[in-house]
């Protein structure tokens, strides 16, 4: 536990209350890639909700439940941070699934507007995403989409928790993930 929390014991409760609001403008990221491999092959790499080894930022994944709605997975990042996600939709036939972030560890704590703020490992809030495959002959189009709010829930966000930093982070992960998926599938 951080030293400052010991000095201000009520602060954690403030976070709990504030965590329920969110910024006013939901953000959107959509990345697409065409892979020169059949859809079944690509789907074979990503279909296991509990296996995110195709995403370079992830060190390991543990899952509670299989490829069924309600299953939760914990992604451990290369730097040790964790992201917990719940599977919301899974469609084997359409080769798609959707999930939401339910919990994240804190990357760092900053002070903004006189209060301590925990910056989550992915600087977003209320994050929902989906990944879809579409077979186009012998190639596959993969689309990864996400909707989310900035991490800062009140007005006038600090630079570490604004919309720009949130968009950049999500875009970066999606791009790197899809590039890596492409190279894995085209092997």
């Amino acid at each position: 536990m951080k030293k400052s929390y010991l000095c201000i014991p009520f602060l954690p409760f403030l976070f709990v209350a504030a965590a329920q609001a969110h910024g006013p403008v939901r953000q959107k990221v959509e990345e697409q890639i065409t892979i020169n491999a059949p859809a079944q092959k690509v789907w074979g790499i990503i279909k296991d909700y509990g296996d995110m080894s195709w995403l370079p930022a992830i060190k390991n994944t543990t899952v509670n439940g299989g490829n069924t709605e309600g299953a939760t997975r914990v992604l451990t990042l290369q730097d040790g941070g964790t992201i917990t996600e719940e599977l919301k939709k899974y469609d084997e036939g359409k080769m798609s699934y959707a999930y939401k972030i339910t919990e994240m560890s804190t990357a760092k704590t900053i002070t903004h507007a006189g209060a301590e703020e925990k910056v989550p490992v992915l600087p977003v809030d209320n994050y929902a995403a989906s990944i879809d495959l579409e077979a186009k002959g012998e190639t596959t189009v993969v689309t990864w989409k996400a909707g989310f709010y900035r991490a800062y829930v009140n007005n006038n966000p600090p630079p570490e928790m604004n919309e720009e930093v949130a968009n950049t982070a999500v875009k970066g992960i999606f791009k790197a993930g899809l590039e890596n998926l492409k190279s894995l599938a085209e092997k």
Binding site: R26, K28, K88, K100, S130
Partner: protein, 320 residues
């Protein structure tokens, strides 16, 4: 040969067909939050006929019942913009407060109500002077607003408090607050103002309230993250946008059971019923388009391309 009576009918029909394009069709005003614009859909042609630049991440929409104005809340411009329905232009912007989101107009078109997401108040603005005449303290993170047809009551969804408040519009005070589902957002009143439907984003259901007693009649389960609702066909059917399911739930308002689930675009948010009481328009935030649902046969009959991040939160049809 047709009988004279039929001829008259035929003539009347023909005239109606000829005259309709000249008279303005109802327009739908869809806020595109990520584009800083509002798409104007001509519902006769089913096409966007105008795109109006509106700064400040436009979100909420409230068309004045008299048909002259459309008010668009702009959370990042701390207030709202006033669109003239003849010119299709922003003719004024009004500074209210920092978290302006939910917006509604009184049935007499004289007052504009703006909910502030951060300040926990609903501001009252005089529609003629565009001056703020008061601020009513409500619950935490007020979102959807709805004014009763008789103009006596304003209903407010307090998102973080999981409650709905009933405000006396004359005295401008909350007279009753009741608990609903988790994170109430969009509100819809029936034509007589007897029933209020509340979409609860977090508990995936709709609370049905009897407004006279402010008691819940029923809680109807819908799908993932319901955002807002709209009534059609003489209030007999309620349509609910399920954001995370990309669908619209249809509830029979007599049995209060879900009777259909209609797939629309991704992240459906704002929803309003055309003044013809039959076609229901849904703004799909992720897909940046609008689905048009025929409430009779429960099918999507048209999809209209709008702008990035179509939100359309509120009553977005104008008669002019």
């Amino acid at each position: 040969m047709l009988k004279p009576k039929y001829l008259t009918v035929a003539f009347a029909l023909l005239t109606a067909v000829l005259v309709t394009p000249l008279a303005a069709a109802p327009f739908a005003y869809i806020s595109n939050q990520l584009d800083d614009s509002v798409s104007v859909i001509d519902t006769l042609s089913g096409k966007v006929v105008d795109t109006i630049a509106v700064k400040g991440k436009p979100a909420g929409v409230a068309a004045s019942p008299d048909g002259h104005k459309v008010y668009i809340s702009t959370p990042e411009a701390n207030g709202f913009a006033v669109i003239d329905t003849i010119q299709h232009k922003v003719i004024a912007t009004v500074n209210v407060s920092e978290g302006s989101l939910g917006i509604a107009v009184s049935p007499d078109s004289k007052h504009i109500y703006v909910a502030d997401w951060y300040n926990n108040t609903v501001s009252v603005i005089d529609a003629d002077s565009l001056k703020i005449t008061g601020a009513i303290p409500v619950g935490q993170s007020p979102s959807g607003l709805m004014v009763s047809p008789n103009n006596h009551w304003l209903y407010v969804a307090n998102r973080i408090d999981n409650s709905v408040s009933k405000v006396d519009t004359q005295k401008r005070v909350v007279v009753k607050t009741m608990q609903v589902g988790e994170h109430p957002f969009g509100l819809t009143l029936d034509t007589r103002g007897d029933r209020l439907y509340v979409a609860n984003v977090k508990s995936d259901d709709v609370t049905v309230i009897e407004t006279a007693t402010m008691k819940a009649i029923a809680t109807v389960k819908v799908n993932m993250l319901p955002y807002a609702t709209a009534l059609a066909l003489n209030d007999s059917r309620l349509f609910v946008t399920n954001q995370d399911d990309g669908s619209v739930s249809v509830i029979d308002t007599e049995t209060l059971k879900e009777i259909a689930l209609i797939p629309v675009g991704e992240k459906p948010e704002g929803i309003s019923t055309h003044p013809d009481d039959r076609y229901v328009y849904v703004a799909n935030w992720f897909d940046s388009n609008v689905s048009v649902i025929d409430s009779k046969n429960l099918k999507v009959v048209n999809t209209i391309k709008t702008g990035e991040g179509s939100r359309g939160f509120g009553q977005f049809f104008s008669k002019k």
